[in-house]
Symmetry: C2
Subunit: 592 residues, 2 copies
């Protein structure tokens, strides 16, 4: 188990993504692969030795509220403190802030192991890293010192407070109000009043302080607020106020905890801001710019949801392949004459289920590390054309990175349970919990339906297909290098033509209602196409991999993906291509 | 809620299946629709008023072991006693045994409501009804009096004891041993020794006695047992011995309870038979005939698993459509200018998710009631040709009835959770539990992989395609009546040709290893074809339904199924049609 993911990670980072090339750029100069390996060693050891042992315990002993304070399961709390003390949360933080300044690709690889070992545990640090980065990028030096540095130093963890009980996917409608309350060294000060829902790690006893980033609306002189996304602003609201305000408790209360199907180790809070005098907060960024700048953190969180989906599916695959090797049962359908029962690995349908898991979990992990690498290239590239290209690709792929591992990770874990038979349905086996934990992924940080609209509406039709053209160009580059895989190259080339034609048609129709009504079908099919590209690209890279066995492994997995998954793509697109108005035309009374 | 399923049930029973025609046969003569309606009224009332209120409680307060006795959650225990006292378990029992002798179609409709309200609760009675029927069909009059009648009278519930810790899907390998122990008025007596795993309601305190049907192997004079399925025999083993043996405890002990993801209200036991002197049991049926006759109960249980999958998905759909009507959020993508947020029912993607649920849950319920009707027709038909036809269809469809609602029910419930957003992931909403409960269905009573081998190996290739030809003939009959649905008729006709060609090819290839290695792909595609047939047949029947609104509802649902699901079928079959040896060819070291 301890090195169960590292072999895969090394292949992806060094053979496929060629992450070492990053060290030639100014941004990562002075770093060496050896630095990253030491970090991955330490992070892996803490993941498997500290977080895995409390995976089940933290599911069973849910966080609870005691005198207004959330208490986290004690072993998980200890593991988190060990993680923070080791400084692992500083991997991508700028050296000027005391961080290591490592590439996202390397940090995401380490995060994947943490997520595979204990995804609920990873939630605390993942959000805090993104929160501190937001403050570092958009805050004043004083705000950084007061609210980001404590997170770097391990004295606080951060949250993201967007949703409200009546406002989930529709964030322009938030009703949290921020009344101007003067100005101090930390900037423009406000009194915040509102209720925030689904706040992961919204309170905890791992660190002394909690730094909330809260989306709200500034109250105008006439008492009104500006409707829609343009009325939103972002506020930093600490649980404990800064020293200049007496280090007292802010007016933020935990109103309750949600009890979830899985992901139970992370407390999920309903927070009341300003039940009394109003919670004190300071604005970050310009008024009306809240949702726009919050998308930096949102995109980071979305990418991490995808990474979690991939990592947890990967762990399920590790468990299933191990069980399939050990469990003795029946005779294979293609050789019923065998006298003694065989390991279930011998049954073709079990082999199929393992290949489903292999292609989903390895493919999703590759996709997520590629997105991290694009973040790094975006920073490393000097050439503005290359920079733009990386940005276009990253933005286009983000909804796929969020949703494909989330949805398909569940498909993989469904098969991980099937491989275990009845045992897999019991709480004695981790696959049961992995499945429950993962069911959150298609929901949080934007449901799959929201990702679909983002992909087709904003990312593809919204820029007239420009980003999509960059993507097609990348894919055709893979096709051009695929001499050793002529069948797959031909199929991928066919997919390029299929989607190129589809996007051109949708642009020409200029009927966004028809297109967006069926964005879900587009996301399904396009997600599979992206993975077809990833798989061919992996198979090509594996032919020259340091680990020679990778060539055969990736070749078979690629072949399976093209044999089983690629043929499903045309069917997925049927609604979009042929019955564009069906879901709108059906009368309400047929549905309810 | 109270009449949430009855409208659908009435349409299926009377307009679609024309169940009233059964009363013209000798088997059901003297019954009237009014009798059935009174039964459905009572059963529905008990389901929704007694079983639904303890749905969550029985999940939260799992059964536990106290002094060797399993204690069932008290409200669920009370609901079960109410159900039994009302005699609802006697619906299909022959009048000569004190039952109502109702058609399976009617009884299954009532069972569907019970399952929708509390599927874990339904498990107790479903197994007992099937157990008592086995004893009534295969036992001697003395065995019936001793072991079936107490179940009819509500003094006992029955179980099915097949799996062992090391023998799940491979029942020919059971190691439970039955040593001959003389003969008495109840027949040939044996001492049973072995461990049985996954025994639902294997012990409980709802009734005083538990009647186990145990699959084991008779110990031969030389101490050996006969290998394989032909070595198996069936034994009835009561928890409390009959009066002639002093009404004392038999040597059957609960060694432990499994703690499951869902379905928690039903205790799932590991039973030790014969830890001391050997449990006393009597053989039912001939020696060596155990697994063969057990298939009657197994098939009934498989059909009920499918029915449970359909019913629970149906309840999820009821909850999702209600939530979608009430929850206000965002503006539809096709009309962003609307000022105020709308019910989420207005969002095309939510409508799509509801249609997915509608087509799966209503289609699966229809399929299951059709199978029950085929059981009834098998008994009612006088003409041997018609009888054979009903038998062929029923046997062919059984693996689809077991697996399609099980797998697709989860797809529907996945969408039911998505419609609820974050709330659907919390234990405050029933969809969370419905999803966990349903995850069992693809596993128990034969995994989906086992159903696939049964379908393609035994039911289709095993009889040279004869049953399949009957099925095609039925489907083409629907096509011939589909004048009002020319597009769907053409597509269904195309599916007939596709599968006809595929089956002919597989028969001609005569390469069972290639075919059976990819039986899973065949089951996926064939299951969807069966539902395409069901949906067109439902749409046709609805045009003349008593409830005129059904015509429009079924027409839209049928159109959606053909627009979204039917196009997926060719892709599902790709592995079987093009890469038959792939899963066998891939080297083991690639998988593990």
């Amino acid at each position: 188990m301890a090195d169960g993911m590292r072999r895969e990670i090394d292949f992806l980072l060094y053979d496929w993504l060629r992450a070492e090339t990053l060290t030639q750029s100014d941004v990562f100069s002075g770093q060496e692969r050896g630095d990253w390996e030491a970090f991955l060693d330490l992070s892996g050891a803490i993941s498997w030795n500290e977080f895995l042992p409390c995976y089940k315990i933290a599911d069973h002993e849910e966080p609870f509220l005691q005198d207004g304070q959330v208490i986290v399961q004690k072993d998980l709390k200890q593991a988190l403190q060990t993680y923070i003390e080791a400084g692992l949360h500083l991997a991508t933080v700028d050296p000027e802030n005391g961080g290591m300044g490592f590439p996202f690709a390397v940090a995401s690889a380490a995060m994947a192991e943490l997520m595979a070992a204990n995804v609920a545990g990873s939630g605390f640090v993942m959000l805090s890293i993104a929160n501190a980065r937001m403050i570092a990028d958009f805050g004043s030096p004083e705000q950084i010192a007061a609210f980001a540095e404590p997170q770097f130093q391990g004295a606080a963890l951060g949250t993201m407070c967007l949703s409200e009980p009546d406002t989930g996917s529709s964030l322009g409608d938030v009703t949290t109000r921020a009344t101007p309350d003067g100005e101090d060294s930390l900037g423009l000060r406000y009194r915040i009043r509102g209720r925030k829902m689904w706040i992961s790690a919204g309170d905890q006893d791992v660190t002394g302080n909690v730094i909330h980033l809260v989306l709200g609306k500034v109250v105008q002189p006439d008492g009104s607020t500006v409707p829609g996304p343009k009325g939103t602003s972002l506020f930093v609201v600490p649980k404990i106020l800064p020293e200049n305000l007496g280090s007292t408790r802010n007016d933020v209360a935990v109103a309750g905890l949600n009890h979830k199907m899985g992901y139970r180790g992370t407390p999920n809070c309903l927070l009341n801001f300003g039940e009394n005098d109003g919670a004190i907060g300071w604005r970050i960024g310009a008024e009306g710019d809240g949702l726009r700048i919050m998308f930096q953190m949102m995109n980071e969180a979305r990418t991490n949801v995808g990474l979690g989906g991939a990592a947890v599916a990967y762990r399920g695959y590790m468990l299933a392949r191990s069980y399939a090797s050990e469990r003795i049962q029946g005779r294979p359908v293609h050789d019923k004459q065998i006298e003694k029962p065989v390991p279930i690995l011998c049954h073709p349908d079990v082999r199929r289920m393992l290949l489903v898991q292999k292609t989903i979990s390895e493919g999703a992990l590759a996709l997520c590390l590629k997105s991290a690498m694009l973040c790094d290239l975006l920073r490393a590239h000097q050439d503005p054309v290359q920079k733009d290209r990386a940005r276009s690709l990253l933005e286009l792929l983000t909804p796929v990175i969020k949703s494909w591992p989330s949805e398909q990770g569940l498909v993989a874990l469904h098969q991980a349970i099937q491989v275990h038979g009845g045992y897999g349905y019991t709480r004695d086996f981790d696959v049961e919990q992995l499945y429950r934990d993962s069911r959150l992924n298609p929901i949080h940080e934007g449901t799959t339906g929201i990702q679909a609209i983002d992909l087709l509406g904003r990312k593809i039709l919204g820029d007239g297909g420009a980003s999509f053209a960059v993507f097609l160009d990348e894919v055709r580059g893979t096709v051009a290098r695929a001499g050793a895989f002529p069948d797959e190259a031909e199929k991928l080339s066919g997919l390029c033509d299929l989607f190129d034609g589809l996007v051109r048609d949708l642009l020409a129709q200029n009927a966004p209602a028809d297109a967006l009504s069926n964005a879900g079908a587009f996301l399904d099919g396009f997600g599979h196409m992206v993975l077809a590209w990833i798989w061919l690209d992996l198979a090509i890279a594996a032919q020259a991999a340091t680990d020679a066995a990778m060539a055969e492994e990736k070749r078979w997995a690629c072949r399976f993906f093209y044999a089983v998954e690629v043929p499903k793509i045309p069917g997925m697109l049927a609604l979009l291509r042929e019955q564009q108005s069906l879901t709108r035309d059906v009368p309400d009374h047929v549905l309810i």
